[in-house]
Amino acid sequence: MIQFIIILFGLTMLYVSVTTRIESYVKAIAAQGVILFLLVLFDYGTTNLPNLIFLSFETLVVKAIAIPIFLMYVIRKNGIYREIDPYVTNHSSLAITTAIFAAGFYIAYWSAGTVSNIRPFYFGISISTIVTGLFIIISRKKIITHVMGYMMLENGIFLLALSIAREMPFIVAMGVLLDIFIAVYLLGLFINKVQDSYSDTHINTLAKLKD
């Protein structure tokens, strides 16, 4: 059942790589938050109750509810709920993500045989999620998709932490949360303040930024 849930996590990334609507990205991020919550709840296996409560809060409230709502707010406010403008075609995006996931399964297979003390399935999917997140960041033009790619990358890192450590250190969870906070903060700052001078939130316009 746990593997079933992790597969669904991978599928959200595959969906993200091929969808053309920004709103679908937000939905995928929310779905990933719910999946991480389920994983923490059912497969974390900790005896440390405050830690479990903190992680549940982080995944369900922050990742699955607060951030998607904020992203939707930014999207609505700026009227950018259109297409995502990738540099590559959707077909090649899908092909690359598929290759990344096949490689992720290979990594899971390799780690199952070689590395002890690791949950290979988490490991493979999290590595491929991180790489796909990076790929989304480099292959999309709009700034908001960069931040959302970063969110997915962070979700992958969260999954990676679940795979390596039975007991995820509190400091790791805090670090991830801080990263997300900064990313969303920067996004809000950028979109709400810089929007006035630059109507289009394309990264092409950033190249023209001069003093």
């Binding site: 593997q3 599928l11 959707n90 077909h91 598929t98 399964f105 199952a112 045989g113």
Partner: protein, 306 residues
């Protein structure tokens, strides 16, 4: 013997109920009471009694096409495992015949459409073939990877054995999603094609049958429903445990098909058709999933991810 009769009866009756149920779900979403679930059957009987109008420019191919398509889909239905995981006809590598029998049906629909000489229908035919070419390899990869796990070569054996073990739980969600995309594409349902629109530039399957009328039209409608039931049966076989007694698995089969109808009706009510340029992406998603399935399966056979 018993199981054969049940399966044939299921194959013949279910398409009407399936179509009727989808329509009922759609009308519920729209806030209407909706037609009776048996309405597709009544439509079919009405069409059977009607005469036909056949264009003077078309040849015997046009008259042949709907019957051949219908026969092809019935044959595919006999090969696919229905209740109890048993097929009416089963032999080694029958899934290849399954895919190509559906291919023959599609070929005759396309040829029949081209025979009318209408440019609309030619366009629809071109699209149909393009999209079918995207779906077929993915189908083969999925069934082949299931066969790889189970070591069986016929549908019955593939689905019987593929359900046990660790790898099954991985392949299951992916396989269900991929086959569901195939169901939508082959059944000409909403994200790919809209069964309700006639005479529009954006459609695929409906445009190919614009010239058909009377009993031929009835057969085409029946075949479309049956195709969905047959592919739905493949999905159901992924879910239903092999060791179930016949009546339980029969009930589960009907339940899964009803659930599929609910999902299809919901999708049709809440989403719009994809733009034509986006349909290949939707279908290639299935190919991507099948690539992941086969990589998983190969790695499991090589040693396993524990």
């Amino acid at each position: 013997m018993m199981i054969t009769i049940i399966n044939i009866a299921l194959l013949l009756i279910m398409p009407f109920l399936f179509l009727g149920f989808i329509n009922r779900i759609k009308s519920r979403w729209a806030g209407r009471k909706g037609p009776s679930i048996m309405q597709p059957f009544r439509d079919f009987m009405k069409l059977m009694k009607k005469g036909e109008v056949i264009s003077s420019t078309s040849s015997f191919v046009f008259r042949l096409a709907p019957s051949v398509t219908f026969a092809a889909v019935i044959t595919a239905g006999l090969i696919a495992p229905l209740a109890g995981g048993k097929s009416v006809i089963s032999f080694e590598a029958d899934f290849i015949l399954f895919a190509y029998v559906l291919g023959i049906g599609r070929f005759f629909t396309v040829v029949g459409a081209l025979d009318t000489g209408s440019s609309f229908e030619g366009m629809g035919a071109s699209r149909e073939v393009t999209f079918a070419a995207l779906v077929e390899p993915a189908f083969f990869i999925i069934i082949a990877s299931l066969g790889l796990i189970s070591g069986g070569l016929s549908f019955e054996r593939i689905f019987e054995i593929a359900k046990g073990g660790d790898v099954a739980i991985l392949v299951l969600p992916l396989g269900i999603i991929a086959l569901f995309i195939m169901l939508l594409a082959e059944g000409c349902r909403v994200p790919v094609d809209d069964p309700n629109t006639h005479l529009e530039l954006t459609m695929i399957h409906e445009v190919m049958v614009l010239d058909n009328s009377g009993p031929d039209m009835g057969f085409i409608m029946y075949a479309a429903g049956m195709k969905m039931v047959v592919i739905g049966a493949l999905i159901a076989n992924l879910v239903i445990p092999a060791a179930f007694p016949l009546w339980a698995s029969l009930g589960l089969m009907i339940a899964v098909q009803a659930l599929l109808a609910v999902v299809i009706g919901t999708i049709e009510s809440v989403t719009a058709r994809l733009r034509m340029t986006h349909v290949p992406q939707f279908l290639l998603f299935m190919t991507a999933i099948s690539a992941i399935i086969i990589s998983t399966v190969v790695l499991f056979i090589a040693g396993g991810i524990k």
